[in-house]
């Protein structure tokens, strides 16, 4: 069993909005292991980014607030350590890359500058020249051609895929324990997406960090993850090893997600017709139903699901397999 480096317990994050307080993340538990990739999947708005930002303590406040929970990183609760200590962890021990490669880099500084900045912050022993060398080395590592030249270029001179590589280079410059990747390939086209995922897999083998891979695409999960957590309305509804999850989904929502993965024709490589997506809409966080949040979209819903016995809680169903459903599928 690999070493556990991060453990989130009972995380609750609330936002104050014009229409009242919403709970964007509601009682999430997650574990990240060294050298392993944890996938967090769910539709847009299910609380994936908020979970990720909580780990970095980057929830915009106001309006956001971490209402409850702990995030243990190597024996320390990140939510309680002083802010200065948190800053020494950010970008150094825990790094993050974002969904928007086009806007995540500062347009008025060179990419070299932006990589060197993180080194200057966390590796004070390096000289200016060493920082430049390391920046070039990192650009080389993430597969950017002629890095000596690219290092002096500005973000607008690079394509989206190249910018995301720069983000990866920057986030890995200090060899973090954990890399949080929040939909790193969503904004990129399919071939670039595959290249970036492959790159991340390769770098993980070389550097051994734990990865939290956030995505709404189970196809990405299949390619990169060891363990998966499925989120719905701010809660984890199913959690398992990746093979187990794909082969024996227990929660009707997970099953729906798997069935709606667009598959590829193995001979032509063309995308086949889209399979049915899950019908219905995600309920608003302002008025969640009693009982199971998925009841309106679920073919198996019973009175029990509609609130006669409260909410379904995450329960162990097999080895390393949990689901929050009153009527698990098998």
């Amino acid at each position: 069993m690999a070493e556990k480096i991060l453990e989130i317990k009972d995380l609750c994050v609330e936002f104050n909005t014009d229409r009242g307080v919403i709970r964007a993340v509601n009682g999430v538990n997650l574990e990240v292991y060294k050298g392993k990739t944890l996938g967090v999947v769910g539709e847009s708005g299910s609380g994936k980014s908020v979970t990720a930002l909580s780990i970095m303590r980057l929830i915009p406040s106001p309006p956001g607030k971490i209402a409850r929970g702990t995030i243990d990183y190597r024996g320390e609760n990140l939510l309680e350590i002083p802010f200065d200590e948190m800053r020494r962890i950010r970008g150094n021990k825990i790094a993050m890359i974002f969904q928007e490669p086009m806007t995540s880099l500062n347009p008025v500084f060179t990419v070299g500058n932006q990589i060197e900045e993180v080194l200057e912050l966390h590796q004070k022993e390096l000289s200016k020249e060493q920082r430049r060398d390391k920046a070039i080395e990192m650009l080389h590592l993430v597969g950017i051609p002629s890095p000596e030249k690219r290092v002096t270029e500005y973000p607008h001179q690079l394509s989206g895929g190249m910018r995301q590589r720069v983000m990866i280079a920057m986030s890995l410059a200090c060899e973090p324990d954990i890399l949080i990747a929040d939909e790193p390939t969503t904004a990129l086209d399919v071939t670039i997406q595959a290249q970036i995922l492959e790159l991340m897999n390769k770098l993980q083998k070389e550097l051994g960090m734990g990865i939290i891979m956030i995505t709404h695409d189970l196809g990405v999960v299949a390619e990169t993850c060891d363990d998966v957590a499925v989120m719905y309305c701010g809660q984890i509804v199913e959690r398992a090893e990746v093979k187990e999850l794909f082969n024996h989904p227990q929660h009707p929502y997970t099953k729906g997600l798997i069935e709606s993965i667009p598959s590829f024709d193995s001979t032509t490589g063309e995308r086949k017709d889209r399979l049915p997506t899950i019908e219905g809409m995600v309920p608003s966080l302002f008025d969640l139903p009693d009982g199971c949040n998925f009841q309106d979209r679920c073919n198996f819903a019973t009175d029990k699901c509609r609130g006669s016995e409260g909410e379904p809680v995450l329960k162990s169903i097999g080895t390393h397999h949990d689901a929050a459903c009153f009527h698990p599928l098998s």
Binding site: L105, L121, H156
Partner: protein, 313 residues
């Protein structure tokens, strides 16, 4: 492309713009405005007197030659003589520029620096009570008439407390200082409301950008993020806003100069307008147009230095 080549090209581009501006000024002053001989000699002048004066003023020549005079004055700053004081206009401008600039330059620098500093401060505390109070204060200050500031300042600080001169001006440093302090303070107060609101909006626009979140995720502190990442991006709109105000500084501040009896260009221009002294009005118009065009070139050049996305073309 090299930055110097770019500057030279931009300056060459100024020439046609200036010719166009001169044409507009020429049309307004030489073709549309009433016959200057009537203004100067009054209704009862004889025809021959008018003829003589027209010849003296060069108004009997072709329109093209008259237009060339306007163009020439834009490049040489030789504006001829004032109709009412008969002085060389360029000398009048030189004399008036000193009081105007001793008021407007310190006032402008102070108000820009103070407004940006306050904006950074409130942007740091965005959404909090401090931020909201400052915005409220700005709106309040903006809704008070500028006359109220001037009259209150003169009555309270100059008359009641006797801290400053109520009005007047003396040439030479440091003699002018006591005369400009109060108008400078009032200038800064007048600018504070709109400027802080403008800079705050620009800075807040930047603070919510994705690259700021990246900077935080790197572990940078809020001060570095504010002064390095945010400010450098915010400089792009700030530069335009600041530089485009500079040409108007030579005019000084019409209102402040007249209330404080400062013999600056603002006063000269007002007098010229009141006495239909067209050559002076024309000279000021040309001067400000030239300054405006040159400073817009400066804005473009500064852009290329702050914003790498701007191509030199």
């Amino acid at each position: 492309m090299n930055i110097w080549a770019y500057i030279i090209r931009r300056l060459l581009y100024v020439i046609p713009v200036l010719l166009g501006v001169c044409l507009i000024i020429f049309v307004l002053f030489n073709m549309v405005s009433p016959d200057p001989t009537l203004i100067m000699l009054g209704k009862h002048a004889s025809l021959s007197q008018m003829e003589d004066l027209r010849r003296e003023l060069g108004l009997d020549r072709s329109w093209f030659l008259q237009y060339l005079d306007v163009v020439k004055s834009a490049f040489t700053f030789e504006f001829g003589r004032s109709w009412s004081t008969k002085q060389e206009i360029i000398e009048m401008i030189k004399a008036g520029a000193i009081p105007s600039l001793t008021l407007s330059v310190p006032a402008f620098v102070l108000s820009t620096v103070i407004s940006i500093a306050i904006s950074l401060f409130v942007a740091f505390f965005r959404g909090t009570f401090i931020d909201k109070s400052v915005v409220f204060l700005c709106v309040t200050m903006m809704s008070i008439s500028s006359l109220a500031y001037i009259l209150f300042g003169q009555w309270f600080f100059a008359f009641k407390l006797g801290w400053f001169e109520i009005s007047g001006y003396e040439f030479g440093f440091p003699d002018f200082v006591p005369y400009v302090i109060l108008p400078v303070i009032i200038w800064v107060m007048l600018g504070l409301g709109p400027d802080v609101r403008f800079y705050r909006t620009i800075i807040l626009d930047e603070i919510y950008q994705d690259y700021v979140r990246t900077a935080r995720a790197k572990g940078l502190g809020e001060k570095v993020i504010m002064f390095k990442h945010v400010l450098k991006n915010a400089m792009i709109p700030i530069i335009t806003y600041v530089i485009i105000q500079i040409p108007f500084l030579i005019l000084g501040a019409l209102l402040l100069e007249s209330f404080f009896s400062i013999p600056g260009l603002g006063g000269i221009t007002l007098n010229a307008i009141n006495s239909s002294d067209f050559p002076v009005v024309k000279a000021m118009t040309i001067l400000i147009s030239v300054a405006y065009i040159l400073f817009s070139v400066l804005t473009d050049v500064l852009y290329t230095l702050v914003d790498p996305r701007v191509r030199l073309k």
